[in-house]
Point group: C2
Chain length 580, copies 2
Amino acid sequence: MMNPGAVSTVKGMQKLLKHRQLSHIATKFAPLSYSIRQEKLSLSCSKKHNFRSCLHTESTRFQHGAGWRPAQAFLVGTGIVAATAAWLWYNRQQAMCKRKAEVEPGAPIDKLPTYTSEDVSKHNSAATGIWVTYKNGVYDVSEFVSEHPGGDKILLAAGRSVEPYFELYGIHKTREVMEMVEALRIGNVFDMKPVKIKDAYVNDPERSVALIVNSEKPYNAEPPLQLLTDSFITPNPIFYVRNHLPVPVVDKKMLDGYQLDAHIDKSGKGSSHIKPLHIRDIKKLPKYSITATMQCAGNRRKEMSKVKEVKGLSWNCGSISTATWTGARLIDVLKAMGFKEEDLAAKYVQFEGLDIDPSGTPYGASVASEMALDPNKSVIIAYEMNGVPIPEDHGFPLRVVLPGVVSARSVKWLKRIVLSDEESVSHWQRRDYKCFNPSIDFSSCDFDLSEAIIETPVQSAISQPAEGAVISEEDEYVTVKGYAFSGGGRGIFRVDVSLDGGKTWCNPELDNNGQSPYKSWAWTLWETTVPIPHGHNGKLDIICKAIDSSHNVQPENVEGIWNLRGLLNNSWHRISVNVE
Amino acid sequence: MMNPGAVSTVKGMQKLLKHRQLSHIATKFAPLSYSIRQEKLSLSCSKKHNFRSCLHTESTRFQHGAGWRPAQAFLVGTGIVAATAAWLWYNRQQAMCKRKAEVEPGAPIDKLPTYTSEDVSKHNSAATGIWVTYKNGVYDVSEFVSEHPGGDKILLAAGRSVEPYFELYGIHKTREVMEMVEALRIGNVFDMKPVKIKDAYVNDPERSVALIVNSEKPYNAEPPLQLLTDSFITPNPIFYVRNHLPVPVVDKKMLDGYQLDAHIDKSGKGSSHIKPLHIRDIKKLPKYSITATMQCAGNRRKEMSKVKEVKGLSWNCGSISTATWTGARLIDVLKAMGFKEEDLAAKYVQFEGLDIDPSGTPYGASVASEMALDPNKSVIIAYEMNGVPIPEDHGFPLRVVLPGVVSARSVKWLKRIVLSDEESVSHWQRRDYKCFNPSIDFSSCDFDLSEAIIETPVQSAISQPAEGAVISEEDEYVTVKGYAFSGGGRGIFRVDVSLDGGKTWCNPELDNNGQSPYKSWAWTLWETTVPIPHGHNGKLDIICKAIDSSHNVQPENVEGIWNLRGLLNNSWHRISVNVE
């Protein structure tokens, strides 16, 4: 978020700004702004959906004690203002470099007018103009408000300080972001009282210290590669965590009444018979276990960003893990809820989590019914992960498990299922987790023209030796280990490993845990011990690439698959070690 | 076949020959020799299977009048001797370069002894040694006989001339192959009477002159790219043809009695109730149509062979076509035959064609039952192709259609279905249509360690403009058209086209005929009109690459996917045109 490098390619945006075609910018900026929020905040752009979601929030959050408090909602909303406004400024900054060099963010500027907090607070609507403050700075975001993709939610922060939000999300304290905010500076203020906030993440669970943290709030972390492939099943404490929002609290009281809600979003088709299903009734349905690998769409983004900057958390190769999930089949759950065959003809199954953003919109996703309801796809509503109740970070008490599908669709803290002829309106479904061709940047992308990522491509990575490890020449051999995985149930037919830049290859032993070639929902681990090239001393490059059961291969380089969000990097994995 | 370039990397073989470890060579040569035969001849290495197949042949070929005559069988068998022996010689040739330069193949050599045809005919067994003749040359293939992967079938040609076979398969008349044969030269003969043969392909059907022929016998041809993507459905006359053997004749009389045979290769499981099903009964089952693309595993081999020589027919981008196939579902056919649920638990469904090789072994293939019997995979036993009875070249009267699977498994002239816990023993299943890593050559490959190709990876190619076409600079724009396809029912999410070597990309309009993303059994056609780079004159490179619904991508280059048989080349497709 707020990664300045991510906009280094937005020449088109700057050009447009120059010409003041702001309405056009709004459209062009939309996906970018959405993405910013998606990575950390999750706001909805659909008023209709928000309204429904808010109702949903009322009935779940306040009844059950989970979710955000109004003050948190306000503050995060305020943060949005700062974030989106900051983007605008960043694109103006080159033309304003003089001020940038002179001004300490939020410090008084003598030549600018001074306002009182009361003055500022009056600028809280389209009619009066929208101002926000940061320290002693006053910023006019009015022009940006009309372009704000999230609609009127930006008004939540109108006439107030953005500082609490900056405290909440430390990433705002970078030089680049502060410069971006300062570009909207219009004056000074000296009597603002900062709003105190309660940390929205205060209820997040304890985590293993072994995890490598990519972001604290929301929490995103991956296991160290040295541990990742030690066992076919990833122990729960080091299973990678990818949260989009604070972890919802489901306490004993809430659990006692926990029911999975259902809805059919299709007029005139038997919705009257559909009823929520209590978690205890889900546990009474036939019990299924499936060992499935979850992988974040951003796995290996770090490598992709080396080629050209992308926006997103800088995941190494560890945002992938494998667990045995136990629960009831989705189809059994739907039937127990009262869905009839004709209902199941709806095109999509949507899933909504208990994790909600400040606007009350839940995290959501959808997949095609033909996939979700296909008995061969083994989709379950899980309540156990590796034999214990699903841990808080992984979706307690319920998580839909969609094997072979990017894990963003396996909604955690599952609270509601909707059958619909439309995809989920969630930003993560419609405005994120989509790929574009390598020459499309944020100024030219159109999320509506791209398909949501569902199944994932063939992937592999080296877990050992570690990048930069020192190998003794006297050892003569080096053991190379790693994982390989493909979406859609496709197993791994072959892994190729090279120690000479791809001139020659060897094929490691594969451990696929006995999975069949077209129902491989979990990864394949592999290992080989290869001779160090005779007489080699110094840097040694090691490459791996996998071939799945459809003979799909990994692309050689990042360049051909580069995309602005840094998603689905499955290029050949390359590491270097030192032979001494 | 007999492509000398294919063995240019077999240093290991030469080394082994040098040390006379011939039994070891036999193992190493096996896949190579198999592949030679697979491309043109099709012999079986399984005695057990051959015996059964021969019985089968008796009951189908001679009763119904289709198949090979004994003389043809003998002659092709003779050819095998020459072919396999030739390989051996090729690997000795560098050590024998003096003779190679001096000798006209089959011409008398003064210093060698002279034998009579009677002498030669006596050398027809392991006890006497195995000799064959070519023109005035006598060749001792005794050592090679014991190494012959096809077992005792080589004895069919013992003591006779290989010339008729060379007439039958013109490819033997290349300098390289003749040199390979000559390496086994032991003497002269002057009284051999050449055996007259009847052309095994004499009953092959008439074909469209529009097809581009890659091999006449067996017939293999592809439509010109200019016609390939003119319509979503490929007209039958220009649907690419990939035959492994002569087209079996199914005349009126045979058709009247045509029944699909069945067998369960699993001891003690209800096979007694299984009965053959007459074609008229198959046509009485519920009728299903599916529009599916067939693609040869060797499609685009021509490009792969430019990087490093591979063995196989030199297909351009046209061994792919699309038809609407109509027939009965495989599962319905199996149930009508009397297969019970417990029978269907067998791991594989094997298919056998009416096209048989000289040993009586039918063309065969198999796929996993979990795939063949999956209702979502829409496998049918087809009797119509684009609304008419399946044409002779495409499998009349029955062909199994396995959508999303490499077309070599959609067995034509279908005569028999076997449920088994084993894969088909056909060479095309076990000793061909498999991929290896790029550094494996025929001296190091082990077909048993590689999986048979079933589903195919994402693919695309440019059909227009043609390679080398002249584009007028004054046109300013160029229209680029092509196809994209992926196996396993995966649709095409995006096609990227570049006119500047991959620096920038555009996305053509896609026509997928309304297929859903995970049940796309047919290709996607695409077209875009793009501006010629301003001021460009001269050679213009055009690239295309596709992304399927699992976000699998095509690899950038051939090098990383190169394999000794030149299979599954799905690298970025690149053509060049001239802007004048």
